[in-house]
């Protein structure tokens, strides 16, 4: 029985700031992709990249090869070790893009978000300012922590495919772009049952379209997947979040002491389950506009909209037979051939092995509205007709 994934959504605001900075950005490079690939090969053999090895792929004198490696360390692509240079995470990312890095000192426009789940990934995009016409409209403020990043941190642009960047240093002052240019993106967190580790995030939305084409194209519809930089707390597991969502949905079935083991499904009371749920053994929880995922003293993930999801359910104790009876009546439909009741009964038994299929005459009697199902029998009119006209009754002789 597969448990549903919880999809939590909320909008995040992206603001823009302009600042003088030294930023390393991915760029086409003749030698770095080859060198990075070589380094990766060496790592698989538990060895590092050395000047001699560099020379096997690039026709350089040894000092130049060493200088190249030093440059790689400066750019953050490589790290020096005992047995040679190894790839950093940034280096690996560049290798995946088949690009090198270049360091530029210029006026940059940074896209920044304050979303807590994106802490450590707060820079979403960077773009070099060439047209400085609008700078007069803004005024300088202190940079404070806005652009502070970890030394090894690098970012992947959500607006331009393949663009990796890392901030080396920034000026102490920057110019916030007026608020009216703020951008709203939708952040989605998918919480799957049994999933551990940091949250997987997905950003979607419409980025203002800029110039460029192909790899350089910026903006348009974006759909970026990120991993939260913060580790997930143990008390933010699926099993913790699902009841919170269920409680907010207003459906009491989960609040009424759900079992520890979710995989067997929630025992639901027959009378409280709608027809669709009775049929599919799943309870559909419609989209919840607002859920505050918060445990006082532990965590506060904030408000989320929770996408509609379906919870697997099982008949509450003692109601399996009633449920099966209902299912058999439903499966029977308007089919009143002599073999139909047995066929429907067998179909129910595949879902509820404990169910004892009933004969047609017994089913028809349930439709009289005097049984536990009351008048709530599917295809009641057809069953009543079968009862009143003795369809399945064969006197034993």
């Amino acid at each position: 029985m597969s448990l549903p994934s919880l999809i939590l959504r909320r909008p995040i605001t992206v603001r823009f700031v302009d600042a003088m900075a030294v930023v390393r950005v991915t760029a086409e490079s003749a030698e770095w992709p080859a060198l990075l690939r070589l380094a990766a090969d060496q790592e698989r053999q538990s060895a590092g990249l050395t000047a001699e090895l560099v020379r096997t792929v690039l026709p350089l004198p040894t000092p130049a090869a060493r200088a190249l490696l030093t440059q790689g360390v400066d750019l953050g692509l490589l790290s020096a070790g005992d047995v040679g240079h190894r790839l950093t995470a940034l280096g690996r990312a560049c290798l995946r893009q088949d690009l090198g890095l270049e360091s530029k000192r210029s006026l940059w426009r940074f896209a920044v978000t304050d979303e807590p789940l994106l802490a450590g990934r707060q820079l979403l995009h960077v773009e070099e300012r060439r047209d400085l016409g609008d700078l007069e409209d803004s005024r300088l403020t202190d940079a404070e922590e806005t652009l502070a990043t970890e030394p090894d941190a690098f970012f992947s642009s959500v607006a331009q495919r393949g663009l990796l960047f890392a901030v080396t240093r920034t000026s102490t002052q920057l110019r916030p772009v007026p608020r009216k240019q703020d951008l709203t993106l939708m952040m989605e967190v998918e919480v799957r049952p049994g999933q551990e580790g940091p949250f997987n995030l997905r950003l979607t939305g419409q980025w203002p379209t800029g110039k460029g084409a192909g790899r350089d194209r910026v903006g348009g519809a974006i759909d970026a997947r990120l991993t939260c930089a913060l580790p997930r707390r143990a008390d933010q597991s699926y099993a913790d979040l699902l009841p919170m969502a269920a409680a907010a949905s207003g459906q009491d079935f989960l609040a009424a002491g759900g079992p520890a083991d979710l995989s067997t499904g929630y025992p639901a009371k027959f009378a409280e389950v709608p027809t669709e749920g009775r049929l599919n053994f799943r309870l559909r929880v419609p989209k919840i506009p607002q859920v505050h995922f918060k445990v006082p003293g532990q965590f506060d993930l904030g408000l989320f909209e929770v996408e509609a999801f379906e919870v697997p359910i099982v008949p509450a104790p003692g109601e399996a037979d009633l449920w099966g009876l209902w299912l058999q009546c439903h499966a029977l439909g308007a089919d009143r051939s002599p073999e139909a009741p047995a066929r429907a009964g067998e179909a129910v038994r595949k879902r509820l092995p404990s169910y004892q299929p009933r004969s047609g005459a017994e089913l028809a009697r349930t439709a009289l509205g005097r049984g536990p199902l009351g008048r709530d029998v599917p295809h009641r009119a057809a069953l009543l007709e079968a009862h009143d006209l003795l369809l399945w009754e064969h006197p034993t002789r």
């Binding site: 308007a334 009143r336 051939s337 002599p338 009543l384 007709e385 009862h387 009143d388 006209l389 003795l390 369809l391 064969h394 006197p395 002789r397």
Partner: protein, 495 residues
């Protein structure tokens, strides 16, 4: 002057005169108007769960309204097997009433299916419940003033329900519900040969029975089966008994049993009279009711009520049934028969003597029934209007009116006395008196010329008349003797 003579015959006694086969009117208590429709409407109003109605035509608005009301008030499940109302023989008014009823009932939530093959007409109320009851109307539902019989058969609700189900699943053609019309869902798996307790069934699924759809015929066999062992009583109602040879034979055989009470209630049909006479002579009590149109039979503690089609030419073969009553059910059924028997109009009396007729009667001839004749009176004096002119004044006793009148059967009296007037003949005007010759006169010492004879003689051609001068019997006796000797007629004087 001799006046006419008033003559009276001796009494004639007709007690032993056999008039033939008679319908003798019974002094039945006044027949209650049957409750018919009112009873059916009452039963409908009692329904709380279901109604099964088998009725080809829904042309009685009161019944339709009662069904619709019951549906609305008690959320009944109503199943109605009826016809599509498009038969050619129907009047436009009936067609319209039927169509309106279909629309009204389907709107009220009844499930209607059409078939032209269900010939039994009945109503089941709350089938399957402890309060189940049923009404059978073999000739159709009576109108507000109709006299078609309605039988209350509470014990037969279950068998009727089974017959209804059989027709529903096997004979239906179209379906009409609140949601709209469509083809009826047939269930070929529903067994047509399923035995039903308390019921005999004739069922023909196809016009010509085949090996796949054999005809089921039980009614005639069931009738024979219950007649066979009967010892005490055999009470039969049959409108056309002469067509059932085995029934006639069975009745005669049972009537021959000592102490057996064998009755036949039927109608007067000229074609049946031979058969009825045979039955009556064989000891079967035969009574007449003009409204007998249903076949029923009570044999000892079993009963049979046939609910069949009209036998019309254009009637499709289909389902007909006979309710079979046993023990408890028979008592009520036999009581119904007893009531019908006691309120019958006439009893057939074969070869009845006049002295045995005590009530109005009519001859059960091979023609239509005539007016009732009054029962014979004890005695009657018949005065014959035409006077009889005697051939001779001396012959005043031997009268042809007397001879003719004594055989007149229409007089309706056990003893008849006739009276008539005898007019003596007169001397013709042109007769001339004869006189004695001189020798004859001389012998008697009378004058020789023109001595009359005694009695006086007259002649006209060869005819000879003797003139009677008195009418005392002695004189007339003597005169008759003389007239015989002379071959003369006795006349009285003219004027």
């Amino acid at each position: 002057m001799i006046p006419p003579v008033l003559k009276t015959s001796e009494p004639f006694h007709y007690h032993d005169r056999v008039l033939g086969d008679l319908w003798s009117r019974l002094d039945a208590p006044a027949v209650e108007t049957p409750r018919g429709l009112a009873d059916v409407l009452e039963a409908v109003a009692q329904a709380r769960h279901t109604l099964h109605v088998a009725l080809p035509l829904l042309t009685i608005p009161a019944f339709t309204d009662a069904l619709a009301t019951a549906l609305a008030q008690h959320r009944l499940r109503a199943y109605i097997l009826t016809s599509d109302g498009l038969a050619t023989g129907l009047s436009p008014a009936d067609k319209q009433a039927h169509a309106e009823a279909l629309a009204k009932l389907s709107a009220a939530g009844a499930t209607l299916q059409s078939t032209s093959r269900l010939h039994a007409r009945f109503l089941i109320v709350d089938a399957g419940e402890p309060t189940a009851t049923a009404r059978v109307f073999p000739l159709g539902l009576p109108g507000p003033t109709g006299t078609e019989p309605v039988f209350a058969v509470p014990t037969q609700a279950r068998p009727l329900q089974e017959a209804f189900a059989l027709a529903w699943w096997r004979l239906s053609v179209d379906r009409l519900t609140k949601q709209g019309g469509g083809k009826a869902t047939l269930q070929p798996g529903f067994p047509a040969d399923r035995p039903i307790d308390g019921l005999a069934l004739d069922l023909r699924l196809a016009d010509k029975p085949t090996a796949e759809a054999p005809a089921r015929t039980e009614i005639a066999a069931r009738l024979k089966a219950i007649l066979e062992p009967a010892q005490q009583r055999v009470w039969v109602t049959h409108p056309t008994p002469e067509t059932q040879t085995f029934l006639i034979e069975a009745l005669l055989a049972k009537a021959a049993l000592p102490g057996a009470d064998v009755r036949l209630l039927t109608t007067h049909r000229p074609a049946a009279m031979e058969t009825l006479r045979k039955l009556a002579l064989g000891g079967v009590q035969v009574r007449h009711r003009a409204d007998v149109r249903v076949v029923t039979c009570v044999a000892d503690d079993q009963g049979l009520l046939l609910v069949t089609g009209t036998g019309a030419k254009d009637e499709k073969p289909g389902l007909e049934l006979a309710l079979h009553f046993t023990a408890a059910g028979t008592a009520a059924f036999a009581a119904t028969y007893e009531t019908a028997w006691n309120t019958a109009e006439a009893a057939l009396r074969p070869q009845l003597k006049m002295g045995e007729i005590k009530s109005p009667y009519q001859l059960a001839g091979t023609g239509p029934l005539g007016p009732w004749l009054p029962p014979p009176v004890e005695s009657k004096l018949v005065t014959l209007e035409t006077p009889w002119t005697a051939p001779s004044a001396t012959d005043l006793a031997g009268s042809p009116p007397h001879k003719d009148a004594k055989d007149d059967p229409t007089c309706g009296a056990l003893t008849l006395i006739y009276r008539w007037t005898v007019v003596p003949p007169k001397l013709p005007a042109d007769a001339k008196e004869e006189f004695m010759t001189a020798e004859e006169a001389a012998k008697l010492g009378l004058p020789a010329a023109r001595a009359p004879f005694d009695p006086r003689r007259f002649s006209r051609g060869k005819e000879l008349f003797l003139l009677a001068e008195r009418n005392d019997p002695i004189y007339l006796g003597w005169l008759r003797q003389v007239a015989a000797d002379l071959k003369a007629r006795v006349v009285v004087p003219r004027g």
